[in-house]
Symmetry: C2
Subunit: 452 residues, 2 copies
Amino acid sequence: MSNKPSLAKGTRDFGPRQMANRNFIFKHITDTFKNFGFLPIETPAIENLSVLMGKYGDEGDQLLFKILNSGNFLSKCSEDDFKKGESAVLNKISEKGLRYDLTVPFARFVVMNRNDITLPFKRYQIQPVWRADRPQKGRYREFYQCDADVVGTDSLLCEAEIIWMMEDVFAKLGITDYDIKINNRKILTGITEVLGASGKEVDFCVAIDKVDKIGVEKVCEELATKGFSTSAQERTSELLKGNLSLEDIKKFLANSEVGMKGVAEIEEVLEIVKNCHETTHAKVDITLARGLGYYTGCIFEVKVNNVKMGSISGGGRYDDLTGVMGMPGLSGVGFSFGVDRIYDVMDELNLFPKHALDSTQLLVIALDDDSRKYAYSTLASLRKANVKSELYPDAAKMKKMIQYAEKKGIGHILIIGENERTSGKLSLKNLNTGEQVSKEINEVIDLLNIIH
Amino acid sequence: MSNKPSLAKGTRDFGPRQMANRNFIFKHITDTFKNFGFLPIETPAIENLSVLMGKYGDEGDQLLFKILNSGNFLSKCSEDDFKKGESAVLNKISEKGLRYDLTVPFARFVVMNRNDITLPFKRYQIQPVWRADRPQKGRYREFYQCDADVVGTDSLLCEAEIIWMMEDVFAKLGITDYDIKINNRKILTGITEVLGASGKEVDFCVAIDKVDKIGVEKVCEELATKGFSTSAQERTSELLKGNLSLEDIKKFLANSEVGMKGVAEIEEVLEIVKNCHETTHAKVDITLARGLGYYTGCIFEVKVNNVKMGSISGGGRYDDLTGVMGMPGLSGVGFSFGVDRIYDVMDELNLFPKHALDSTQLLVIALDDDSRKYAYSTLASLRKANVKSELYPDAAKMKKMIQYAEKKGIGHILIIGENERTSGKLSLKNLNTGEQVSKEINEVIDLLNIIH
């Protein structure tokens, strides 16, 4: 009869230790978002497929988790549909899906609440998303995104603040050796202009996006197949090989108006950044393209040096996120922290504080039945004073109770036996040092509140 | 081309104001759970249907949201299956579902981590759950549960601590006029024994559970149809009409061993409760049955007086939650706060603090381009000192900027024009009082940090 239970593929449980570490990351991200004037919203996990489909490309549509209609889900589906296969059946049996990211639900939120929200609207959102991807190391089917976006302003202050926020969060988390790559879609457009390949911006981006993986030569081969001229390939090769300064890029783009505008935007952003951080991790990288097609201005991506891991944060400016939902012309800029990858990086670099397990401070141990009864009021006093405490609930051997405290990361035990309850002097033992002292309950409370 | 976007039926967005109020509730619940030694875990939203199905009765199985298999979801499904209908098709096209509560995933977690967790294991869990219920006022298809459970101990201290925690949380939230109804499954078993209807405990519970809705007479009619004797009906009628004291119940149950054990358990729990709260909201109510079949000892339910609302918290002891997953004999006790109902109660009673919107403290307003550049470093200084602040990002009329601050609940503005930036004395205005003072940036920071 008994079933051996299992987790669904690509999903995870988080126990108390992992939760403490994750909450450490969430806390610093949330504090920073708030410090910069962002307010939280939440949207439902379940969205209508009409909202989700067609926003992430064909591949994205495939990766959406679809929810079966309730009740007689086959009622709209004919034998004919069934014979035609999945594409004919799908929209007859499923109308809802799980959100794929936080950006499309945010766009829906803005459109539906356009009359209530005050522009510029700054929101942050920390929730799980789901993708029916093939699970592999570091890639899950259910994972958290932490997004912050501003819509309703073109100000480049927003771009600078993204860099400020990234640097603040990583400083708080102890991540120091990383680059914030910055580029601008207008620069990429300008480059294709200069290369005499106007309109082939997407082909160009797709190709150079892979330079880290396949190398310059293969990138040029790919460009050739897309109709880029030999001279365009040669000039691309130069662009990709060198560590280009902004001045080099300016020379290259001198005759492209849009390209020069992209450079000017980056210059202004970096100028603002200087006001907050004397040195910055931001580095211009014209090979940065980012997959999503909706970016129109600056784009960002964060890579940790010396750790094998994809980008741990990224974002950019988009000019028409809500247009497809009937609200055109709303400019916005946003970015996201990849908490699962940040977790893995911090784990590898051993950056989690030891005390992060926000555990019970004190385990009360009663040595006999009368002491147990006495301990109830001790426990009540401790908790009223916000000392996180518990009483071992059963009669047990001292060794077992101390093991319980140690496994749970509880630093102190308070022993109550006949002597203690008749004298009112309780035995407080520090499990790390082994030191034991005799204290009245108020003294115990004062001591514990000082330590934490 | 444009689609008017909509929310999926029975789901909700939470804007910044609602988030602040919800977080106020979550914070006090979490603080209390931690204060009592509970540690957090999280489980995935998606579970295998093999874990979920058969745990909530037939109705529950119907209300599970099922997820369509990815890719060629029809591949295992024959034309024959299709002709047979939903029941033949379902397990061919869907293997996963959304969690229906936090109890079954917790049981799965305990079984799968049995070798790593230390008993007694105290966990809390705050996550959304999904039910394909017909949406109506106060009932949603996606809603949060806040559960705390202890497994691996029979100690009645746990039951007493549930009452302690309920009273602590409601005191912090400002909810004062409520009852914690307490009963014990053993008492219900004892009553059926005394009534000469042993084994008909479920019929009895189902019937008396409705007494508030249908009245004593109808309850007795229902008992008649279930084969309860006339004298049993008469004695039930007496039980339901009176406001019975524990002494009355003892007299009634005097000859039932199991019934008297139930009474003794409640007495011990209430005795322990006294140590923490001189007066308690706990009241014995033998009509309390609670639907779920797995309870075996004390059961609890909280009702707010003078507000039309179902129970806002409830729970009880179960003796074999993990048995069906191959780990028998693990006793546990747990309870849950219904955050959505608590929200509605607090809203109706106007209990949310006005300052709960954890908003930006200060809006910086620059009057010209040079002042804007000056303001960047002001902004950086404010944020380094953890003053939650923002700079209005665009050139705009003063009125518009002040409206922005007011709508967002920002209490102060800091005005920077030519005078301010040349003198270093910035104009700080309190938007509530209208008072305006001239201060250096360090003074501004000190002032704002005192206020918050």
